[in-house]
């Protein structure tokens, strides 16, 4: 008898045991600790927290370990955990101007209050494999300078002071949350930004890149990119004032894009905005490019490029949704396939039964 009707349950259990074994690998190699992942694979942790929409380095490290380094799988683990947590409300808007800056660069001004701070960056490293890292490495203590006290206005704020860039007043009312209400179109900018912040880095990178190559060009300048720690405050009803919850590390990108204007408004620069957890300039910059591209209709620009298509971008940016649906093709489809086989056999039989001289081959009736 050939039909395997039973055995699925045992097969699944065994597959999971094998997975645990493969995850651990060679038992003679020391097991990786969450601290090691958090410290030495910090940017992977940042990405998992960002796209997992949950700021928790320990859980993100655990997810990376459990996922064997598959970051999308780790993001999925974190999301599935996050969705079980109660939601108390929205924090006060972050004041990124008051950030404890670890890195801050502007491509639009040579110098500006607060200065250019390179911080820890791959930029300007020569991408030569460093074989000294193959062994235990001795690392020098870094050079440091005392943090400058005070609040450093962002380039966008400086431009806004002179009326050179559009206003960016926060919208009235509560901000939306697409994890609590289904997204509908057209979506407001708060929901678009939330979607992009959770969106897949690779997807946004490709879309942002496409705008640079002419598919929805926005003439961007990296007004400022900053990375550092900001305090999160939550308005406590009981206390009647905002209480600090702690600090988180974020990367913010403010793109300055080509101006618009109209008969009754002087031309001014426009904005694209990116904000992600941890240090990820690539993601923050791509997000800012796509945010700006998605504002095409609002700003009265020509639309039609993929990055300007809100429904296309927002519906396909989530890698947890995307990987689930792509990979669901692994699930059995034999019932539907059987239906297709049946129809195909019927059509083929009809085709072969036809008189070759009198019958035209299959035509495309749609044309």
């Amino acid at each position: 008898m050939y039909v395997a009707v039973k055995g699925g349950e045992r097969a699944i259990d065994n597959a999971h045991k094998l997975l645990a074994d493969a995850r651990r690998g060679d038992r003679d190699v020391p097991e990786v600790s969450l601290d090691q992942i958090d410290n030495q694979l910090a940017l992977a942790v940042d990405r998992v927290m960002s796209e997992g929409s949950l700021y928790d380095r320990e859980l993100a490290s655990l997810a990376i370990k459990q996922a064997r380094g598959d970051l999308i799988e780790a993001i999925f683990l974190l999301r599935a955990y996050r969705t079980t947590l109660p939601r108390f409300g929205a924090s006060e808007p972050l004041d990124t101007g008051a950030m404890d800056i670890r890195r801050r660069v502007s491509a639009t001004f040579k110098d500006l209050p607060g200065g250019q701070v390179l911080g820890p960056t791959f930029d300007y490293t020569h991408r030569l494999l460093d074989h000294t890292l193959a062994e235990q490495s001795d690392v020098e203590e870094p050079a440091t300078a005392p943090a400058e006290a005070g609040r450093f206005k962002s380039v966008a704020e400086l431009l806004a002071g002179g009326g050179l860039i559009e206003d960016d007043d926060p919208p009235a009312g509560d901000v939306g949350d697409l994890t609590r209400e289904p997204l509908s179109f057209p979506a407001k900018r708060d929901l678009r930004l939330q979607n992009l912040a959770r969106g897949d880095e690779g997807f946004l990178l490709a879309l942002g890149y496409s705008t640079q190559r002419g598919f929805g060009r926005t003439h961007p300048f990296a007004g400022e990119i900053r990375y550092g720690e900001v305090e999160v405050e939550f308005f406590a009803e009981d206390a009647g004032f905002a209480v600090p919850l702690g600090s988180i590390a974020v990367t913010e990108c403010q793109m300055v894009n080509q101006f618009t204007g109209s008969a009754n408004r002087a031309p001014c620069f426009t904005r694209g905005y990116g904000l992600v957890f941890g240090q990820s300039e690539r993601k923050a910059m791509a997000m800012a490019l796509v945010d700006r591209a998605l504002r095409a209709r609002e700003l009265g620009e020509e639309t039609g490029a993929p990055a300007q298509d809100e429904e296309f971008v927002l519906s396909h940016s989530d890698n947890v949704q995307a990987t689930g649906f792509v990979e669901h093709l692994k699930l059995p489809h034999y019932v539907d396939f059987q239906s297709e086989l049946g129809l195909l056999r019927k059509l083929q039989a009809e085709f072969h039964a036809r008189d070759a001289h009198t019958e035209t081959p299959i035509q495309d009736a749609a044309e």
Binding site: V5, L183, H333
Partner: protein, 298 residues
């Protein structure tokens, strides 16, 4: 880090309320796709998260759950979802169609007629029947609102013009209660007649697409067709090799490299019941039911 403690059937009660409201709305407007705030479940999108959320929201401690995929209780994903509810809700499970109060399914409707005491929960990948004709949600919602279904009829007509037949063999579109055109999920069109006037409540959940819709009991469901090309359910003209059934939907199984094949019931519970009742096909002696292979087919 403390181990998380989950609520009965995993979802918290507020989420269940939200989903139940969506379900009630769906029942009130048969065939209409109700948006809902679908949660991230601990299984992947596209693997039944919509059905799982509906089941989690309607399940009570006294329910008896059956989960099938491709008609079978023992396909890997059906096993996984059943285990999920055993673990998180501790409900009793069954493979017997007639014993279940809630049946979650992917791609099939059980052969045995359902009753008023049962709820059938479908897993839906793409809830929008017009999606492959019009990719934009903003457009398709407008088309539904205006009952603008001409495009679908043109598609079916073009199939006939090109192939001589309507070339849709599964997820065959239906009209529910004379109003909304609905995707019945990727069930083979063989199952479409069972959608109509069923005593059981039928609920459809699409987690990734965040939609719930329903066919209330005893609602007329019509498979779209033309007067001169009436709807025809397809069934391979063979009998089940195991139980000899001539009226059930059949899976085709390739048995050797030379392309030999056999046909067996897709609904495993139906097939086992028939064999237990003494029916048998060419390869299925009465004893066959007891010697099922322990074969990993995941």
């Amino acid at each position: 880090m403390s181990a998380p403690v989950y609520n009965f059937a995993y979802l918290d009660e507020q989420t269940k309320r939200m989903i139940r409201r969506a379900i009630l709305k769906a029942i009130a407007i048969p065939g209409y796709q109700v948006p809902f705030a679908s949660r991230e479940m601990p299984m992947p999108y596209g693997w039944g998260t919509g059905g799982v959320q509906i089941t989690a929201s309607i399940l009570g401690p006294d329910d008896k759950l059956k989960v099938i995929d491709q008609g079978s209780d023992d396909t890997t994903n059906a096993v996984s979802i059943r285990k999920f509810f055993v673990k998180t809700a501790g409900v009793e499970t069954t493979t017997k169609t007639n014993e279940a109060t809630v049946i979650q399914t992917r791609h099939r409707i059980p052969e045995q007629a359902l009753t008023e005491d049962q709820v059938l929960v479908y897993q839906v990948p793409i809830p929008e029947p017009l999606r492959f004709l019009e990719p934009r949600e903003t457009e398709t919602r407008r088309m539904h609102a205006l009952s603008e279904y001409g495009l679908m009829h043109v598609k079916l007509y073009e199939d006939i013009a090109r192939h001589g037949h309507i070339a849709t063999t599964y997820a065959y579109p239906v009209e529910v209660g004379g109003r909304y055109v609905m995707d019945p999920s990727p069930i083979p069109k063989f199952d479409n007649p069972k959608l109509s006037d069923s005593p059981a409540l039928q609920l459809f959940g699409a987690g990734r697409e965040k939609r719930i819709y329903a066919i209330p009991p005893y609602t007329h469901v019509k498979s779209l067709d033309f007067e001169d090309h009436p709807f025809e359910p397809y069934r391979h003209d063979a009998q089940c090799e195991l139980c000899g059934a001539m009226n059930s939907y059949l899976d085709e199984v390739i048995t050797d490299d030379a392309g030999s094949r056999m046909f067996v019931c897709s609904d495993t519970d139906f097939c086992e019941d028939r064999r237990a009742a003494g029916h048998h096909g060419p390869q299925g002696g009465p004893a066959a039911a007891a010697t099922k292979e322990e074969s990993a087919h995941g």
